[in-house]
């Protein structure tokens, strides 16, 4: 069990852009991540109102990072795979209470 404080970054992105996210995260100091396939569910009406098309095939990338580099990793993801890019990614972080298996 580790005493260092970590946060889990979740990044939801169009399928096929996970490498873009991971390259950016690694440059900011992250070690690795795990990718889960997922499906987006934005409503048709909202898509028309906001004039965006939501690609239904998604990937969720989970990256566990030390708390002190969390902001740098999030910023790197935003710049390389944010909503204004083809990946249309959103990212957020959650605090984690316990971690095990990081050594």
């Amino acid at each position: 069990m580790s005493e260092k404080t970590y946060e889990m970054i979740f990044c939801i992105i169009n399928a096929g852009y996970s490498e873009t996210v991971m390259d950016a995260a690694r440059e900011a100091g992250a070690r690795g991540g795990t990718v889960i396939r997922a499906r987006g569910t934005a409503g048709k009406e909202a898509e028309e109102v906001f004039k965006i098309t939501v690609h239904p095939d998604k990937e969720v990338i989970m990256i566990l990072v030390p708390k002190d580099i969390k902001d740098a990793v999030l910023e790197a993801i935003y710049k390389s795979a944010g909503m204004s890019t083809a990946g249309q990614g959103i990212a957020f972080s959650l605090p984690v209470n316990k971690t095990v298996g990081l050594q």
Partner: protein
């Protein structure tokens, strides 16, 4: 002096019993819940899910995933692929230390069983029966009598 004596007495009461006494009457959520996220090799997912389930865990789900190690690193390490499974388990906070200790031991000792686990606290749950199910509070379930 009297204050000191009183404090000393409370320290001898077991922590769980003390916590139960401090709960207001009618508290329907005495246990905190956390989401335990365990990432392991695909072929070890059922093994770890069964282990976690033995700690009063009633609700788990597994999803296939893949690691993000690059192909050249996998080749260098002689690994075939990076297929993984993610186990999401709803666990009680008071059982979390035992589960984390067990997982840490298994991650170190089981061949090909390395993994990572983190926990994220719940802040709310909808429905008292769902809550009772998630924290395995069997005493709250009415019997047939």
């Amino acid at each position: 002096m009297a204050l000191f004596a009183k404090k000393k007495n409370t320290e001898t009461v077991p922590a769980e019993a003390q916590a139960a006494k401090q709960l207001p009457a009618g508290n329907i959520a005495p246990f905190k819940l956390e989401l335990l996220i365990t990432i392991v090799e695909k072929n070890k997912a059922e093994f770890y899910a069964d282990l976690i389930q033995s700690f009063d865990v009633n609700f788990q789900f597994l999803t296939p995933a893949r690691g993000t190690a690059k192909a050249e690193i996998l080749d260098y390490l002689g690994l075939a692929d990076s297929d993984k499974s993610v186990i999401f388990s709803v666990v009680r906070s008071d059982r979390l230390d035992d589960i984390v200790y067990m997982l840490g031991t298994k991650f170190r000792t089981v061949r090909g069983g390395k993994g990572v686990a983190v926990s994220v606290p719940f802040t709310s749950v909808i429905g008292s029966s769902v809550y009772a199910f998630l924290c395995n509070a069997r005493s709250t379930v009415k019997g047939d009598e």
